[in-house]
């Protein structure tokens, strides 16, 4: 202040028009920045969800593979069970048939089922009853039949009947058929 009595008013380039323009641009920039940040956030969220879903997908695939393995195992178990059931049914029928073969006058005390044979322990009133009523049907079934007797205290005979089926017998029969 060299000459004037008073100081000049403070001058600012930010006139009302400039302030309005700055406000407008500021709002625009803030809105753009907000939108950009929002999109960044959404993108981050989408990426996060995507990764989570991919991880879940891998997890589910793994679970599916495990499940398939379990199903296969169960299926094997089922088929095995069915096989066993069938075999048991066959065995049951065989045993029933076996017991049907035994006449009422002969009493069995023990029966051993072998893979390709049958060993019967019992008591018979005499050899003839055994030979005609039990050995005959056994011989029709087994290729080799051996019988041994020893007397019981009451005068009856204990017997041991050992019957074998040749391994290739069934194959031969089938081949012949």
């Amino acid at each position: 202040m060299k000459y004037s009595y008073i100081k000049p008013r403070k001058k600012t380039p930010f006139t009302q028009e400039v302030q309005l323009a700055i406000t407008f641009f500021s709002i625009t920039v803030i809105m753009l920045a907000s939108t950009y940040l929002f999109l960044l956030y959404k993108d981050y969220n989408f990426q996060k969800d995507k990764n989570r879903i991919l991880a879940r997908q891998i997890e589910l695939k793994q679970e599916i593979a495990d499940m398939k393995q379990k199903i296969a195992f169960v299926q094997k178990q089922e088929s095995l069970g069915e096989k066993i059931y069938t075999q048991n049914s066959v065995l049951k029928d065989s045993i029933e048939n076996l017991f049907d073969l035994v006449p009422q006058r002969i009493t069995l005390s023990e029966a051993k089922l072998l893979k390709n044979g049958l060993i019967l322990y019992g008591i018979t009133p005499n050899k003839d009853v055994y030979n005609f009523m039990l050995q005959a049907p056994l011989r029709s079934i087994f290729q080799e039949t051996y019988s041994s007797f020893y007397p019981a205290k009451n005068g009856w005979l204990h017997f041991v009947s050992t019957n074998y089926m040749k391994d290739d017998f069934s194959e031969e029969v089938e081949n012949e058929d």
Binding site: Y3, I6, T15
Partner: protein
Amino acid sequence: MLGKIFESLYVKVFVNIVVKRFSTVVYIETDGKKGLQRSAEEEFEVLELDEKMHDLITAFTKESPYNYVSVLDMSQSQGAVPTCKKNRIEYYTDVEDIEFRCHNNAWAYYTARENLTSIRKKYAAIGVDYIFSPFSILSYFFKDKIDGTLAMYILVQESFLSLAIFENSQLLYAHHLDMMKKEDFDGIHLEDDENDGDLLLGEDDAIDLDDISLDDTEPGELEDFANIEDLDSIEDINEFSENQDIEEELMESTDTLEEADETQFNEDYQRFTLIQGSVGEFYKDPRYESRFVENVYVADAVGVTKEFKKYLEEEMFFNVYVRRTDLALEVCELAKEETGV
């Protein structure tokens, strides 16, 4: 830094207001990087800020936030004193109610606080940035002269005279004279009743200063010039020529001074008497260091007549040099200087 960058992008608008006796002059200048871009000057037949003036000013000021409104202080209660020290200023005027500014740590100009308040209030609608004293204008206008030998400098306005005596840039005496103020005008040192009567300046009894000669004058009438009694002879007067400002004389064109019509004559005579009174006060008042004034430089903002110059030269033995000036332009220059353009 940022402010400077912004400032360089805008033009600067200088609005300069000079209140005359019956009108107000508004001079507006727009300055860009390459100097003056646009200027306009208009005179309004009002003394207050009216709608037209307001519209003109706002039309320019809205162009740039860097606009500066300057007003020349035309109030009566102002002046200048040959000191900057507050306790010394008290010696010349009451410091309680004034606002003063020191110039070059050598002298000060002052105005009443109420004047500043009044100007601010008057132009509150547009705001005021600078209020200049006529003495600032005077010293700035004659800055090439005031650092020289002792001389009197007068700023002639329509209603006021700002008179200052400088020697080597040091103010010796200053007086702000109001032509409308009765006391100032009554203070003229034409002490006899006959001369007072001549102030009526009728057609028949108009004063003719050419008829007044030193021989006819009573010794008492020249008591104000007691220190220059020994200069009464022609030989002594010739010594004045040694101190004449030849350069200024060459620059001055007296042809531009108008012949006086009756109104101008009256006003110029009134000015002459006011100056005469002030010079007398300077010589007599013990507060001022009385030195003999030889050269008078007039900054003429109204168009003084040849008679005015003649009175000063013939009646007071001054070497008078008149420079025409446009006050509004000078205020603008000062505002630019103040702003640092």
